[in-house]
Amino acid sequence: MGRIILTPIITGKAFVLGDNIDTDQIIPAQYLTFNPSIPAEYKQFGKYALSSVPPSQAGLPQGHVPFHTTDEFVSDYTIVIAGKNFGCGSSREHAPIALDAAGIKAIVAEFYARIFFRNAVNGGYLVPFMCKTRLCDAVCTGDVLEIDTAAAILRNKTTGEEYRLEPLGEVGPIIDAGGLFSYARQQGMIKT
């Protein structure tokens, strides 16, 4: 928390998912007994991130792509591309935590479920971008992407395509500060 996640350029390989990826798929309930405020246990969430996504839906367009390719905690992929309503379901902050622990820096979805979006922003785990284009049909798992965060542009280095992202808007300053607490301190709302 408080670390800078909104770097000018975010680059990495894409892991592509479909619509309505819910929090049970992102981090199944049986792993919620880990306490994310204990660093060793925070790491554990990375290992189980996206572990309940049905195999045929994991790593589109073909599916059946394992999310973890290097070691058991961190994924090779750093940007998740998804369709509608990403993060629906439970309020568990363990969901953005699991993706952060697995090495995800940004998500680009059509839109998010409310609580997931707030958790990602307020916890300062990763940057939740939105894009009007249905990127989950346009980007392939493994494509190399580059997000220019100030210009709100996503470039697919593999295909050469460019896409306009939605501006971060009112939550921009919170993301830029690195989460709710850093923002509130900047604003003088809470003492340091």
Binding site: M1, N20, D22, D24, Q25, P28, A29, Q30, L32, T33, F34, N35, P36, S37, I38, S52, V53, P54, K84, N85, C88, G89, S90, S91, R92, E93, H94, F111, A113, R114, I115, R118, N119, N122, G123, G124, E170, G179, L180, F181, A184, M189, I190
Partner: protein, 435 residues
């Protein structure tokens, strides 16, 4: 002054503003913060890290801690999490803690909150659980938040909230005996989709709603989140105030708020409940609606009656009415939401038998009050789907893996439909058993 909806009025008041509009981001004073054993330890961790090891919560009378998720398990980590809550409660000297293994133990937080008098009209209730929206049944603004936000509220008593536009759902007419609130809300979710109310308030209205008791109204609001809703809400009436006043032990004053005449609703949908029929949500999404008649005969391995959605007294009355004097064909699990409900199952009767006797005589298994298999949980959880089986359930979610195994097929339905299906071992319309 500009007319506002019920949700807008509550947010304006708590933000100290004469009016707010949908889309405004406002800092609100929070009346109650609830957390449980799954998100409590993380919330406490955030609080300590950010405010310091010796910091005190903003108002100890406004913090409610209800362990309910992973309770009757041998899982070491799960038990450790309850210990973390205990230690925090001791350090902070918090009065509203419902500890496991004591007389105060309650069970599922969303039902425990109203039973223990923590829900009041006009207030803002935040909880580290997405079904916190259940409390909107009491005419308050109630929504789920994450650990970081809850840690912030613990320290400051405030949080930024964006004002949702309100969608209004009007139910007209009296519910026929074969329908329950579960059928109404599954119909709505099926109609608008599981993202149909994302970032929106869902206000329920109409004589069909006001004819429901508080438990049924809670079922309606409980599943607002399944359409992506920020909150579900029902303006208070005499039934609400009767319930609240009987439970409001600390006699905290509250304000009855209703939508202004002329308030703007972004959508209004009207349902005639007399024309509706029993429905299920098919695997693997709560919006995958089908009339029971359309899927009847689908083979099942298990039936589950429990959770904050379908484990209240009215839910068990409905199920017992169907199971009375009959025998289930498939494994049937009955899990009361709270200890108060569990006790009432042992005393309330249909004819000469208690509801619990009816369930046991029918061959159902009775569990301890808690969330149990509603969210899968550790492998030894009562009723958990450890194999890729097919289950009909009164719970609220059927995403892949929700009740345990990721290949399990879960159908969501009303307690009446689940009980009828338990008797035949296939999906069955309750009209085959009740008028």
């Amino acid at each position: 002054m500009t007319a506002m909806t019920l949700s807008e009025k509550i947010l304006a008041k708590h933000a100290g503003k004469p009016f707010v509009r949908p889309g405004d981001n406002v800092w609100c004073n929070i009346d109650i913060l609830m957390t449980h054993d799954v998100c409590g330890p993380g919330t406490i961790g955030v609080f300590h890290k950010q405010f310091g090891r010796d910091a005190k919560v903003w108002d100890k009378n406004k913090v409610v801690i209800i362990p309910d998720h992973y309770i009757f398990t041998a899982d070491v980590m799960a038990n450790r999490n309850v210990d973390t809550l205990r230690q925090f409660v001791r350090e902070q000297n918090l009065p509203h803690f419902y500890d496991v293994g004591t007389d105060r133990y309650k069970g599922v937080c969303h039902i425990a909150l109203p039973e223990e008098g923590h829900t009041r009209p006009g207030e803002i209730l935040l909880g580290t659980d997405s079904h916190t929206c259940t409390a909107g049944a009491f005419g308050e603004f109630a929504t789920g938040i994450g650990n970081t936000e809850a840690g912030f509220v613990l320290g400051t008593g405030k949080l930024w909230l964006s004002v949702p536009a309100t969608m209004r759902f009007v139910f007209q007419g009296n519910l026929p005996p074969y329908l329950m609130a579960k059928d109404l809300i599954l119909a709505v979710i099926g109609d608008i989709g599981c993202d149909g109310a994302t970032y929106r308030a869902m206000e329920f209205d109409g004589d069909g709603v006001y004819a429901l008791d508080m438990e049924e109204r809670m079922t309606l609001c409980n599943m607002a989140i399944e359409a992506g809703g920020k909150n579900g809400i029902i303006a208070p009436d005499r039934v609400t105030l009767g319930y609240v006043d009987a439970r409001n032990k600390s006699k905290i004053a509250y304000e009855v708020v209703k939508s202004d005449p002329g308030a703007t609703f972004m959508v209004e949908k009207v349902y005639d409940v007399t024309k509706m029929q029993p429905v299920v949500a098919k695997p693997h999404s709560p919006d995958n609606k089908a009339p029971v008649r359309e899927v009847q005969g689908t083979k099942l391995d298990r039936a589950y009656i429990g959770s904050c959605t379908g484990g209240k007294m009215g839910d068990f009355r409905g199920a017992a009415k169907i199971l009375d004097g009959k025998t289930v064909r498939i494994d049937t699990f009955v899990v009361p939401a709270t200890s108060e409900i569990a006790r009432q199952l042992k005393t309330e009767r249909i004819g000469s038998r208690t509801l619990e006797e009816i369930f046991l005589a029918a061959g159902a298994k009775m569990g301890e009050p808690s969330c149990a298999a509603c969210l899968g949980g550790p492998a030894d959880t009562f009723g958990r789907l450890n194999e890729p089986m097919s289950c009909i359930s009164t719970t609220n979610r059927n995403f892949p893996g929700r009740m345990g195994h990721k290949q399990a097929q879960v159908y969501l339905a009303s307690p009446l439909t689940v009980a009828a299906s338990a008797l035949t071992g296939t999906i069955t319309d309750p009209r085959d058993f009740v008028g």
